[in-house]
């Protein structure tokens, strides 16, 4: 082939590779004379650089033109069809094996990608996942990779079999396992999805189950995990040898006990002669090292070592006590309190810097921080101070939680003109640990202001001081209908409280309230009589005393522990109204394991007048119903009703079983008389009238009084609100469960509840003749507690802590509501944590 001398070399089609690189790789130069053969070898060598998809050599006179097509680079990797593993997790996996955007795209790259993705799914037990990748050409020599993932499903467990167990049946043992064969609950708990760590954990549970019941020689000989050919079910077999049951022969202590042996042996959960149980041995050692920790030996170690005598199947237990050195605390540090003051956390500490370290005080510190209710999570760790072996730092790490509510409303309503309302309440006001709330409402008819401030640490020991002021002025004249009664109140009180032990507090309060009362248009007799006797303006000097015991494990959403409160409020002599009210409330939380717990709540109250009040003033009555009391019933709607207004109605005669007797025409059919009202009345046993509908206007046979005229009786108009009573009984049972499908549940509480309760009175108003002529006793009020008057309801509720305050949604189904009860299905409230 003829050759020619190269005058110049020109490159075409370069985008990212530089001309210099091509010139270096090209074994020919300006001035060489080349023929066909040499050009071919040159382009072959250039191709080996791995940068080009295609190379063409052309000739333009004596100038060699090299036309190149570069290998494309990957510009985008799209993944679709993946649900179990997030896209960026998959991309990270690819990056680790060098497959990322910007890389030169070669055939092998495609295969490496699908292998890597399959590997990620296999690690999740999805053995039958399938990956399909396709390449999409993009302008400027780039390629986009579209990866389609068919995740398949996680191999579910078809069969778990334990071979070689005689003492305990397969069912009994498999109940303890986390892994289960596919069952009804699997969609929720996904417990039938195989994972190696879960199997290891279950094997450990199996071993403990035996070791805790005396089978100290128990051993898992071997385990087999096998997969069905279509890779969607897993078969697990555990081959075990149980060995014999061993008892404990004698128990000894060794090492430096620091504390009296007698005190340590009190903490033994195992006794001589008992069946050996590893859990009880470990529990004993834990308690003993905790006991030493309380005396400053934070690094104490206690190990219960069994010495096994196989012939007569007995075990000698020796507890080796190593107190380690008495430890001291150098610094107590707090982190995560972005807005809460350091002192608000530090004042909760029982453990001092510079003192000997007590595990109990350090743990109590964590519990008290939890109990503040300002923090979502509180963790503590005690690293050793470098360079010493007996000094530690105590580091508390908290995550703050919104603890308060904030809302404004501005509006205009015809009747009340411009409406302006704002209320802000913060339990941790500006991080100071003080509770502050301010409420303002203003429109033409109502002006109400209230302000409260509470400082839990008025003194360093936790003597608290709080005061609140309230002023409420409603111009009732302008209101059209006022139901029952309304009050305007002004006043304030001052409270002090102090701890009398690590968990109990006493508190006192003194206050002054002035109340103006306004009668509604239709008002029960009790109110009328009360206003006639007492007038409508009262000034009260009030004293309060309360004792509280709080051993809850957390302030917000507790899950364990108990809480009791007893309080008494007295309006002392010299006040216009003298009465007292006693109240007891209690909460028990029982953890049920995992995030489940059970709560029992009860609230009891009793009040009475004294001095020249022989009954509790009606507007001080207990009322029940609504969130925080008996859910499923409108708030304040339960309890005895007042003796309502009545109007006198004509009575009709009734037959033996209480139906109305009607005039009959000649054919025996009831006579129709258009002038007869659609409602007729009959008399009940109390002498009150009961309405019966008479829509087709039959003419009733009226009942005649002895003076010949038609007999009449009072027919009462039901009043809106319950009057309440001086006895309050409430109780509820709640099952607290983890809200499903939500990851971060720290600001969520979901419960199933059964509420029961009502208010009663032992001071029923006896209607006097002037009130109602024929009435012998009060139709809506029975004296004393009556079990079948207690209303119950079941339902579910969720509380969500938000910046504007705790939102509570409840849905309840009343169980034994009676006619006349006002019930609620769905209720929503802001600011109330049930």
């Amino acid at each position: 082939a003829e050759s020619f001398q190269i005058e110049d070399i020109r490159l075409e089609g370069l985008q990212r590779v530089s001309a210099g690189t091509v010139f270096e790789q090209l074994p020919i130069n300006v001035g060489d004379s080349v023929d066909e053969h040499r050009l071919v070898t040159a382009s072959k060598q250039l191709f080996r650089s791995g940068l080009f998809n295609d190379i063409q050599l052309l000739r333009d006179g004596d100038v060699l033109i090299v036309r190149l097509v570069e290998l494309p680079t990957i510009s985008s990797i799209e993944i679709s069809g993946n649900k179990a593993i997030q896209t960026d997790m998959l991309l990270d996996g690819l990056k680790q094996s060098g497959l990322a955007e910007g890389l030169v795209f070669k055939r092998s790259t495609l295969e490496r990608i699908s292998l890597e993705l399959e590997r990620q799914y296999v690690s999740q037990g999805r053995y039958d996942a399938r990956i399909v990748t396709d390449v999409e050409a993009l302008p400027r020599n780039r390629v986009g990779l579209n990866i389609e993932v068919e995740e398949g499903n996680v191999a579910s467990i078809a069969h778990i079999n334990i071979v070689g167990n005689e003492v305990f049946s397969d069912d009994e043992l498999l109940k303890q396992f986390e892994l289960q064969t596919s069952n009804f609950w699997s969609w929720y708990a996904s417990d039938d999805k195989y994972a190696r760590e879960k199997l290891a954990a279950d094997m450990e549970t199996l071993r403990s189950y035996y070791l805790d019941r005396g089978y100290i020689r128990f051993n898992i000989e071997s385990t087999q995990v096998s997969l069905s050919p279509n890779k969607d079910s897993v078969y697990i077999t555990l081959n075990v040898s149980e060995g014999e049951k061993y008892d404990i022969r004698d128990i000894r202590f060794a090492g430096n006990l620091v504390v009296e042996e007698e005190e340590l042996s009190q903490l033994l959960f195992v006794g001589e002669g008992d069946t050996f149980s590893r859990r009880r041995v470990t529990a004993s050692s834990d308690w003993m090292s905790k006991r030493l920790g309380n005396d400053g030996y934070t690094f104490a170690k206690v190990d219960g070592i069994p010495d096994i005598d196989d012939d007569n199947r007995q075990v000698d237990l020796t507890f080796f006590v190593e107190p380690g050195k008495r430890t001291y605390v150098r610094r107590v540090n707090f982190a995560g309190n972005e807005s809460t003051l350091d002192e608000v956390l530090r004042r909760e500490m029982l453990q001092m810097e510079g003192g000997w370290a007590s595990t109990e005080k350090i743990d109590a510190g964590k519990a008290r921080l939890d109990r503040l209710g300002f923090f979502k999570t509180v963790t503590v760790d005690t690293p050793t101070v470098p360079g010493t072996d007996d000094m530690i730092d105590v580091n508390y790490n908290v995550e703050e939680q919104l603890s308060g509510s904030l809302n404004f409303n501005v509006g205009y309503a015809g009747s009340s003109g411009v409406i302006l309302g704002a209320s802000v309440s913060q339990n941790n006001f500006m991080g100071s640990g003080n509770r502050m709330s301010l409420g303002v409402q203003k429109n033409n008819t109502v002006q109400s202001y209230n302000f409260s401030f509470f400082d839990p640490y008025y003194t360093i020991d936790g003597v608290s001081r709080g005061y609140n002021l309230f002023y409420r002025e409603t111009d009732y004249e302008s209101l059209s209908a006022v139901s029952d009664y309304q009050t305007n109140t002004k006043g304030g009180n001052l409270t002090f409280g102090y701890p009398i032990s690590n968990r109990q507090r006493l508190s006192f309060s003194a206050g002054l309230t002035s109340t103006d009362m306004f009668r509604g248009s239709t008002v029960p007799a009790e109110i009328i009589e009360f206003i006639e006797d007492e007038g409508d303006h009262f000034l009260e000097y009030k004293l309060g005393l309360s004792w509280s015991y709080n051993a809850l494990n957390r302030g917000l959403f507790p899950t364990a522990g108990t809480e009791h409160k007893v309080s008494a409020d007295i309006s002392i002599p010299g006040s216009d109204l003298t009465y007292y009210k006693l109240n007891y409330s209690a909460n028990y939380y029982f953890p049920l394991g995992g995030e489940w717990s059970l709560r029992l709540r009860t609230e009891l109250g009793y009040g009475d007048g004294f001095g020249d009040q022989e009954r509790l003033p009606f507007f001080k009555n207990f009322r029940a119903g609504g969130v925080g009391s008996v859910r499923g019933y409108s708030s304040n709607s339960l309890g005895p009703k007042g003796l309502p207004e009545y109007n006198v109605v004509e009575l009709s005669q009734t037959d033996a079983n209480g139906d109305i007797l009607y005039e009959l025409d000649e054919l025996g059919r009831p006579e129709v008389d258009t002038s007869v009202p659609t409602v007729v009345y009959k008399e009940d046993e109390d002498g009150a009238a009961v309405a019966v509908s008479n829509s087709n206007r039959y003419k009733p046979v009226y009942q005649l009084a002895d003076n010949g005229s038609i007999a009449t009786a009072p027919y009462f108009v039901e009043s809106e609100r319950a009057l309440g009573g001086n006895i309050n009984t409430e109780a509820s049972v709640e099952l607290i469960f983890p809200f499903p499908f939500v990851e971060d549940r720290s600001s969520l509480r979901s419960v199933l509840f059964l509420d029961a309760g009502n208010t009663f009175t032992d001071q029923c108003y006896t209607p006097s003749d002037s009130d109602v002529p024929t009435l012998t006793r009060h139709p809506y009020c029975e004296n004393g507690f009556d079990i079948n008057e207690v209303r119950t309801a079941v339902g579910a509720g969720v509380t969500w802590i938000t910046a504007i305050g705790p939102l509570t949604f409840t849905y309840s189904i009343p169980l034994n509501d009676k006619s006349g009860d006002r019930t609620e299905g769905f209720e929503f409230s802001l600011g109330q944590v049930f």
């Binding site: 000989e221 087999q224 995990v225 997969l227 069905s228 050919p229 279509n230 079910s233």
Partner: protein, 384 residues
Amino acid sequence: CSSTPEQPQSSLSSIDDQLDVDVEWRLNLGQQAGTRLNRLRPAVQNDTVFMASADGRVLALELASGAEQWQLTLEQNIIGGVALAGDQLFVSTMDGMLHSISTAGELQWSSALASEAVASVASDAQRVFVHTIDGRLSAYQRDNGEQLWTYEHAMPVLSVRGTSSPLVLEQLVVTGFASGKVVALDKRLGIPRWDVRLAIPDGRSELERLVDVDGTPVWDNGVIYAASYHGKVAALSPRGEVRWQEDGSSYGHPVLALGSLYLSLDDGTLQAYDIYNGANQWTQTILQGKALGQVTVFDRYLAVADDEGFLYLLSLVDGELLARERMRPKPLHKNVPNSPEMTNWRGLRGRDFGLSAPMVATERGLLVTSNTGELLLLTVHADQ
């Protein structure tokens, strides 16, 4: 632009059945085997069929009519069997016990195994050999069940469900293991004579490293044939030399007929090899993508079934698909005594109509057990 490679659309529906398959009789054994993937198979002696049901019953039936001759109930679920040797039947149960039952229906002895025995046992005059899923091969006295020796083989972390039944020769007992090896042991002493590796585990995840030899090795005039998953099908001499080996990843074992070796591969392909040099005689890919079970030679055909309940009959000569029959299960009333699993059909998952257990060819017909716990005797005759 690129189109994603489709599943090979097998034009199954288009073939016209050249054979008719009739059901001579069908008997419901009452226990749904689907999810447990039991591979209980019947054993036939003259005119009696001995069969076990997963819920613990051993039955003897008349081969011709399916009529029950006797029935014995064990308290435990049966997971391995039925093996037949002389007048002794062997089954193994979930609690890791091996039971010997006389062909007249009396329980002779039961002895404890080291673990589950999913495959049926094999035996010779004095001994019975059991391969348990923990990788142990043990020998027991046939007359009283006493253990003679046990050989332990190292097991991988993950294996395919199912184990290879032992092949018993004069001096040797040959078994496939989950490690990808075929091992020959001295029958009397239990010491390994030779082993051959049929597959090499490679790849990073446990899944890629599966290499089970789950099919029972086959013996034919002086040559042992075996196949492994992710590995080779091979012909071995009694001294363990490899006469030939070819690619052939399968969950089961090869069968022999007309001088050829037939094997169903894990991707649904069926392959025939020349028994002398392993040369490929024919390859049938029409069933690719189906989950095929163990191939069986029956009459003049090659029979194989899949996990959707279809039975296929192919020509031994060229692999042509001659018949495709759907084994519709006879509906069973809702709940069956002492069977813990749900047995109403709606609750079962699709795969449970499948035919995963191996089939047994007899002169009167082909015995097939379905995942729904039914035993059927099928006969085949040319379509007139």
